[in-house]
């Protein structure tokens, strides 16, 4: 937060006149808005993504009616859920029943505070970041038990009970795996952990030692158990408990449960990326600085003859790309599948080249007047956009695994689930922690 405000002070002089506290307040509000919207969008997109993955594994298509490729389906679902009647059972404990989903949502939304989006892009880089994450994760279990109890339904109660046992147990291996990371990085701050992994893939904590390699899998498994996904989805086991803790919920309260669940997928994957997969660190590129490659590219592009040549080429290809784009729009309007569309079949290389050159031409056109600001623009791109995209790509790759498991694996029984945690994950977790300590003592 402080970094961000100071950064803004550096960029925009008028904010300095406003003073620190009002600026921070504005920034906080903006951050809250951005994060909540990001959270909503992410969980919405995850419902879409999950349904598409389900379609692929189930040999069917998934949503493809609302919007292009069914992308707007989640908004339609949201609107439907908001419009539906919110039924509260007569025997339910009304206040607890109403509050439970929001507590669940709170736990997930709070986690977004310490999830980094880039080297300078984090709402609050707390010095106890990882600890904070573990703490907010515990909101979930309170919400689930409240929902299970307040519904006054035995199936919901069983679901709440199962989730309590499960989440409380799995927090231990989860924390143990993260402790391995904390031990290695020497800090609990999320950004600190990522910075400690700078310098290429071999510096990622995943490959730090055999113990941290194992810790990654312990973390991933127990995190999936914590957010109640298959194969650990026993609190909402459909074939056993009908729907588990959310059996009596309808309308948007039900939607909130699911928003939290899908938001959680992103949270656990983001934490896994932060702790083990180098966060926003780009392989072979030092994000904090432009580096020789970036500087060389900037100098090369700054030469006049290169500019003119590229501009001419870009214009020609831009015209072709425009034609291609129109064909593409033609296909989309008629709801052709993307990969089978006329456009992709005949003009795919044109699209790529054209978009590249059009972008290049635009950049070059802006290049001359903005030459003075060039370092700022490059800095913005390299410090905000590229790291965010890298982080996001890594997180999405991991969350694909989560969804993939969801549609492939059967579910464990409740006692087997506990067995996996207490008999395997926790002892291995402790061994990893001690082993990592010895490893560090030996090799450093």
């Amino acid at each position: 937060m402080e970094n961000l405000v100071n950064d803004l002070f550096g960029q925009f002089a008028f904010l300095q006149k406003l003073g620190y506290v009002p600026t921070a307040a504005i920034v906080m509000l903006a951050c809250g808005l951005v994060v909540l919207n990001f959270f909503g969008l992410m969980s919405g997109l995850f419902t879409f993504f999950e349904r598409k993955v389900a379609g692929w594994t189930n040999s069917r298509r998934g949503p493809n009616r609302v919007g292009p490729y069914g992308l707007v389906q989640f908004m339609a679902d949201g609107v439907k859920l908001i419009l539906k009647e919110d039924i509260i059972p007569a025997a339910a404990d009304r206040s607890i029943f109403k509050f439970a989903p929001y507590l669940l949502l709170l736990g997930t939304a709070l986690s977004f505070v310490v999830i980094p989006f880039g080297p300078k892009w984090i709402i609050g880089d707390l010095n106890v970041g990882v600890l904070y994450l573990l703490a907010t994760g515990s909101f979930t279990v309170v919400g689930l038990i409240m929902a299970g109890w307040a519904s006054s339904n035995k199936w919901a109660l069983l679901g709440g009970m199962r989730s309590a046992a499960q989440i409380v147990s799995y927090e231990i291996p989860n924390a143990l795996a993260i402790l391995v990371v904390v031990l290695t990085a020497g800090t609990m701050s999320m950004q600190g952990i990522i910075r400690a992994q700078a310098g290429g893939i071999d510096h990622w904590f995943l490959f730090n030692s055999p113990f941290s390699f194992l810790a990654f899998f312990i973390y991933f498994i127990s995190a999936i158990a914590e957010i109640n996904r298959v194969p650990f989805d026993i609190p909402e086991a459909e074939s056993e408990l009908v729907a588990g803790y959310n059996i009596e919920y309808s309308a948007m309260r039900f939607g909130v449960f699911f928003a939290a669940e899908f938001g959680n997928i992103y949270v656990i994957c983001a934490v896994a990326v932060t702790c083990f997969l180098g966060g926003w660190q780009v392989p072979l590129l030092d994000v904090g600085d432009l580096g020789p490659v970036g500087r060389g590219l900037g100098n090369f592009l700054g030469r006049g003859e290169v500019l003119i040549l590229m501009f001419v080429v870009a214009l020609g290809i831009g015209i072709l790309a425009w034609k291609a784009l129109r064909a593409f729009v033609w296909d989309v309007r008629r709801k052709r599948a993307f990969f089978g569309s006329r456009f992709v079949r005949f003009h795919s290389e044109l699209l790529v080249l054209g978009l590249l050159f059009t972008g290049g031409a635009l950049a070059l056109a802006l290049h001359l007047p903005l030459r003075a600001h060039l370092p700022t623009i490059y800095r913005l791109i390299f410090q905000y956009l590229v790291p965010f995209l890298v982080f996001f790509a890594k997180a999405m790759l991991l969350s694909f695994v989560v969804l993939w498991w969801r549609w492939t694996l059967p579910r464990l029984r409740v006692d087997q689930l506990m067995g996996v945690c207490w008999k395997y994950l926790i002892p291995i977790g402790f061994a990893c922690l001690v082993g990592q300590g010895f490893w560090m003592w030996l090799f450093s």
């Binding site: 199936w155 459909e238 408990l241 029984r413 409740v414």
Partner: protein
């Protein structure tokens, strides 16, 4: 103060995702562990046996479709054989082969549903969609054959109602070529899955004695290691001329008589059905497909009990005729009913999730239980 726990009465069904239709179980549980499990049946009772007494023999045929809607052909066949034996009706050989062919094809799709829902009850959703995909192709074949996709009403006294369409046998063998590798695919996908095994091996073991005591039939009986299959031991239709192995459960994959063995017996039966179908295609004789009977069929006074091997075990029709065009009494004995009776004994001591596996492994179909 001593720690005591109270038991809780849990009402599972009639609308529960894993009760396969409309079944109800009254459970007395201590947390997750079931102390008492009482099946409550009758939610799908339609009085089929009483309806049979009101209708001419031929008109009851569509009702047998509704007996076990996942294996309508086998129910048709059982009823047809009963009335044919009672009324001494000859069946031409081509019709016999067509009957065996459709019955085995129906056995395959019935087991496909069974295997798919089994996996779904254990928590894996995807195998179900894959088995349904294969079933769809068989449904297409059946639609070609008789116009219906679920309740076929295809078999008549003295034969079948339509001859095989042109090229049907070709398309059938195409399907078999497509289907056989799929079985191996299911095995890789779900049958040999570690979690799936963990959930099923050693769960709800039915001993041989128990299986006999509760008169279990079909795959459930064979999974307990009892080598009994009506198709081989009391061959009806042309099963005597066909070669196939009876799939008996072994303890190779787990405990004899547990849920996992019951699952495997169904997979093996599908393999054997494919084998029978290939023989039917090869041996299919030419000739008439229907021996026309009188419109108002009369059966001589007397009693007859005929049993056939349906996908859910022996399907018995006990027919009492006092002469005339209607049966005096038609009693139907189904496999799902006896399978339901053993749930009460096996249920206590299981966990809720195991009970779901048990019901799925018995492959109970609600309309067959209640009739």
């Amino acid at each position: 103060m001593p720690i005591t726990t109270e038991t809780m009465v849990l009402n599972m069904g009639p609308h529960h995702p894993s009760t396969h239709g409309v079944l109800r179980f009254i459970l007395r549980t201590d947390g997750e562990v079931i102390h008492m499990c009482r099946p409550d049946i009758g939610y799908l009772h339609r009085g089929l046996e009483k309806i049979a007494e009101q209708l001419p023999y031929a008109q009851f045929m569509p009702y047998t479709d509704r007996l076990d809607y996942l294996a309508a052909m086998n129910c048709n066949l059982g009823y047809a054989i009963t009335v044919e034996q009672a009324a001494d009706i000859e069946v031409p050989p081509r019709a016999e082969y067509i009957r065996v062919l459709v019955a085995e094809l129906n056995r395959i799709i019935s087991h496909l549903i069974s295997v798919g829902t089994f996996a779904m009850d254990i928590g894996a959703v995807t195998p179900f969609t894959h088995t349904i995909r294969e079933r769809e192709r068989v449904n297409d074949l059946f639609e070609e054959l008789c116009g219906a996709r679920l309740t076929y009403n295809y078999i008549r006294f003295g034969g079948v109602v339509f001859d095989l369409p042109d090229g049907f046998l070709n398309r059938l063998s195409q399907f078999l070529d497509y289907f056989e590798p799929r079985l191996e695919q299911y095995n890789r996908f779900i049958s040999k899955n570690k979690i799936f095994k963990e959930r099923l091996v050693g769960v709800a073991v039915i001993s041989q004695q128990q299986a006999l005591d509760y008169a279990l039939v079909g795959p459930n009986l064979r999974a307990s290691g009892i080598d009994w299959d009506l198709r081989r031991d009391e061959p009806y239709s042309v099963y005597g001329d066909l070669e196939f192995d009876v799939s008996v459960g072994t303890s190779k994959f787990g405990v004899l008589g547990d849920c996992y063995t019951r699952y495997w017996v169904r997979i093996w039966e599908m393999e054997q059905s494919v084998r029978i179908l290939r023989q039917c295609i090869a041996k299919m004789p030419e000739g008439p497909y229907l021996n026309k009977t009188k419109r108002k069929l009369k059966v001589e006074p007397g009693e007859i009990y005929v049993r056939t091997e349906a996908p859910r075990g022996e399907l018995g029709f006990y027919l009492i005729s006092h002469g005339g065009i209607r049966p005096h009494r038609l009693r139907i004995r189904t496999g799902s009913f006896s399978a339901m009776s053993i749930v009460e004994e096996l249920g206590s001591g299981l966990m809720v999730a195991d009970l779901v596996a048990l019901i799925a492994s018995l492959d109970v179909v609600a309309p067959e239980v209640d009739r």
